[in-house]
């Protein structure tokens, strides 16, 4: 790593640590930004690096929420009683039950989602291109609908977790750092992964799956592992969200297919598909766009968002990183001969 890069990474890390204290009013928004970064990086693992565009990664987010919440509740109380519409006793959690349950819950969410990615993937990875996108979208929608009809986990009324036991500001900072930790971990993981043979193999699958297969790469296995790694991080992020939101319900907050489910794709496209920094840059830009429109264009925010998707997809598909790479190839360590027309993929 060059000196320049080390300074860059160090300053980003320093900023991440200072940010919640420097901008205390924006604590929740900053935490959400990390969430966007996590889901964007993990989406790019399959979408950008492996060429499998999933519209169903939100499944892992929603499932993560439920798994984390159910583990936490289940460790202390009976889940059926807790979620019963009929109410009942008052449920309180000691600090140990809350934080212990949360730690196990979030980890459990990650593990469960990774395993479910293997199961779902072994069915859906036979689908290619748009069929894969639609199939995974179908899985996410179906999961939301089924959970909404499952009384044991609260059905349509969702689950309300206990409120963070400490005071308000510590709570905000706490969740910020949880998200930040998972975010940094997923970034470093992706950075390492793309440099390995494994990374080369999934790139080969993206470029030509038949050839990769013919070369002896066990493509299905690679696809499953990659998705399951992505699902691990998304599941953990969902688990953290469950505690941050406190109350969530299946269709609008957990399996929110047309919100976060599509945002993550837009983030990646905006930043640049198949690059390391693209998802991060895209998530930051997208989150800014979203916060601004949600505050100043209330009512029209969804129209603006739809327009952003269309414009990004139609006119600006290489994203910010793709555009930069085209304009400033030397930043990407590419030697520029006198007249190189294009280096973008």
């Amino acid at each position: 790593m060059s000196k320049k890069k080390i300074t860059l990474y160090a300053s980003i890390l320093a900023f991440s640590i200072i940010a919640p204290f420097a901008f205390p009013d924006f604590g929740t928004q900053l935490a959400t930004l990390w969430l966007m970064i996590i889901v964007a990086i993990t989406w790019d693992m399959t979408g950008g690096q492996m060429g499998y565009n999933s519209l169903g990664n939100i499944f892992f987010y929603g499932t993560g929420m439920y798994v984390a919440a159910l583990i936490t509740i289940g460790l202390t109380y009976d889940i059926g009683d807790y979620t019963s519409a009929a109410g009942g006793g008052i449920y309180e959690f000691t600090d140990l039950e809350y934080f212990g349950g949360m730690a196990l819950g979030i980890l459990g969410a990650g593990v469960f989602c990774s395993l479910s990615a293997i199961v779902i993937g072994s069915l859906t990875f036979g689908l290619r291109g748009p069929y894969f996108a639609i199939g995974t979208l179908g899985v996410a929608i179906a999961a939301g609908e089924l959970v909404a009809n499952w009384d044991w986990v609260g059905g349509g009324q969702g689950i309300a977790l206990p409120v963070y036991p400490g005071d308000l500001d510590t709570g905000k900072t706490f969740f910020y750092f949880l998200f930040a930790a998972v975010g940094i971990a997923s970034f470093l993981f992706a950075r390492w992964l793309y440099g390995t043979r494994f990374g080369a193999a999934i790139n080969a699958i993206r470029d030509d799956e038949e050839k990769a297969d013919a070369m002896g790469i066990h493509t299905l296995r690679y696809k499953l592992y990659t998705w399951s790694m992505a699902a691990f991080f998304v599941g953990m992020a969902g688990g953290i969200s469950a505690f941050q939101l406190i109350h969530f319900e299946p269709l609008e907050s957990a399996y929110q297919t047309i919100n976060l489910g599509i945002f993550m794709v837009v983030c990646v496209l905006l930043g640049g598909k198949g690059t390391l920094w693209g998802p991060v840059v895209g998530a930051i830009l997208f989150h800014l766009f979203k916060e601004i429109t949600w505050n100043y264009l209330l009512g029209w925010q969804w129209v603006a968002l739809g327009a952003l998707i269309v414009v990004t997809v139609v006119y600006f598909q290489d994203g910010v990183m793709g555009w930069l790479e085209h304009k400033r190839p030397e930043w990407f360590g590419r030697k520029v001969e006198k007249k190189v027309v294009s280096v973008s993929q």
């Binding site: 929740t28 109410g87 009324q157 206990p162």
Partner: protein, 407 residues
């Protein structure tokens, strides 16, 4: 709506004139509420908002909230939550952190309250709500949530016991009654279902249909087909105003004959006005009725509230005033009482004062349990008889006899 705004402008100018002339201007206490002005809960969201507005104006006219030697008027900031939980939560956060609201009024429906309560709890902002009845709201140990209404398992409990009574009168066992339940998939209606199932189980009744309404509540014909085939003795439908309207119109359309049909939210959906005869002999649960003998110094008796409210909001002139309005007004009244007893606008002191509320109102007695729900007020059951709502149960309050069977 146009009439209303004209009226309020008039009132505002009038009160401005008066306040300049007589009283030294009162201070302002800002309340916040995310409420459903569009979406599936819009009808009742508007009812609740009108109830809040009416009480705010009434208190203002009576000289405001007196805290020490100062007087204050309420002002409510509303946002439209579009009947969506995640939006409600976002807006509550916005009210608290951007508009610096220190006291919240509830949204409409249990589901929305469930989404917002964690936010007010997190920020430790008291919320007095009038429209969230599900019991599942009151088992989370929330300290800042208070509800003036009775919880939802009580809504249709008397319908079940009435059905049992009628079965016995006609020489059958109570346990022979077959119950059909169709509810919306949301906290309120799921709690109605839980309550009815519990009560039915007590009598040993069999629940033969137990279905959920589709999400937009616009079509229940598939369920009614099963009703036709299985012939239950009691049909329960709960899905807020939208569900009540769909039920009444489709029961008529498909010519469904069930001896007893009980709904929630008939008045709010104005089923008598919209469907006329089709609504006759349907049982409706209500939190409040204008014929009940409750009164307080601010709003007068229940009957007086009814008359005065219709004067202030002429669009309700030839309708039954839905109880959603009365309880919304009662919530504002609880705030006024609490502020005056606390003698302060410090939110912790006000919270403690709300918790200690023991108040008689035009809407009924209000006293909060440890968990925050009102444990002092009973529910009543009305039947639509020739287009009029008549109280038929419980017998203590009944003004008329029930028409049974409904055919």
């Amino acid at each position: 709506m146009k009439k209303l705004s004209l009226l309020s402008i008039l009132m505002a100018t009038l009160s401005l004139l008066f306040s300049q002339a007589s009283v030294a201007a009162c201070g302002e206490i800002v309340l916040g509420s995310a409420i459903s002005l569009t979406g599936k809960y819009a009808t009742n969201g508007v009812h609740a908002k009108n109830g809040y507005e009416y009480a705010v104006q009434k208190i203002k006219d009576a000289g405001g909230v007196k805290i020490g030697d100062k007087c204050y008027n309420f002002k409510v900031i509303y946002y439209d939550d579009e009947s969506k939980g995640d939006r409600g939560a976002t807006l509550a956060e916005r009210l608290i952190s951007q508009d610096n609201v220190q006291f919240m009024l509830g949204p409409y429906s249990s589901g929305m309250t469930k989404a917002i309560a964690p936010v007010t709890e997190k920020y430790q902002i008291p919320m007095v709500e009038a429209e969230g009845a599900s019991r599942s709201l009151f088992n989370k140990g929330y300290r800042y949530l208070f509800a003036v209404l009775s919880t939802s398992e009580l809504y249709l409990a008397s319908a079940v016991s009435l059905a049992a009574e009628k079965a016995e009168e006609s020489g059958k066992k109570a346990s022979s009654v077959k119950v059909a339940i169709a509810v919306e998939n949301d906290p309120f209606s799921l709690d109605i279902r839980a309550g009815v199932s519990e009560d039915a189980a007590k009598f040993g009744m069999e629940v033969i249909i137990d279905e959920k309404l589709p999400r937009d509540l616009s079509d229940m014909s598939a369920i009614l087909t099963k009703v036709k085939l299985l012939k239950p003795d009691l049909l329960i439908v709960s899905g807020h105003s939208k569900g009540a309207a769909t039920a009444v119109s489709q029961i008529e359309e498909q010519n469904i004959k069930v001896p007893m049909i009980a709904l929630t939210h008939c008045e709010a959906a104005d089923v008598t006005g919209n469907y006329g005869k089709a609504a006759d002999d349907i049982l409706c649960s209500t939190q409040w009725d204008e014929t009940l003998a409750y009164k307080d110094p601010m709003f007068g008796s229940a009957a007086e509230y009814n008359v005065d409210f219709k004067k202030a909001f002429p669009e309700y002139a030839d309708k039954t005033v839905p109880y959603q309005i009365a309880q919304a007004s009662a919530a504002v009244y609880v705030y006024m009482d609490a502020f005056q007893r606390a003698g302060s606008i410090d939110k912790e002191k006000v919270r403690d004062a709300i918790a200690a509320t023991d108040l008689m109102t035009f809407y009924g007695p209000i006293k909060f349990s440890e968990a925050g729900n009102n444990i002092a007020k009973p529910m009543v059951l009305r039947q639509i008889q020739n287009g009029e709502y008549r109280v038929v149960a419980p017998s203590k309050f009944a003004s008329h006899k029930i028409n049974w069977p409904r055919m």
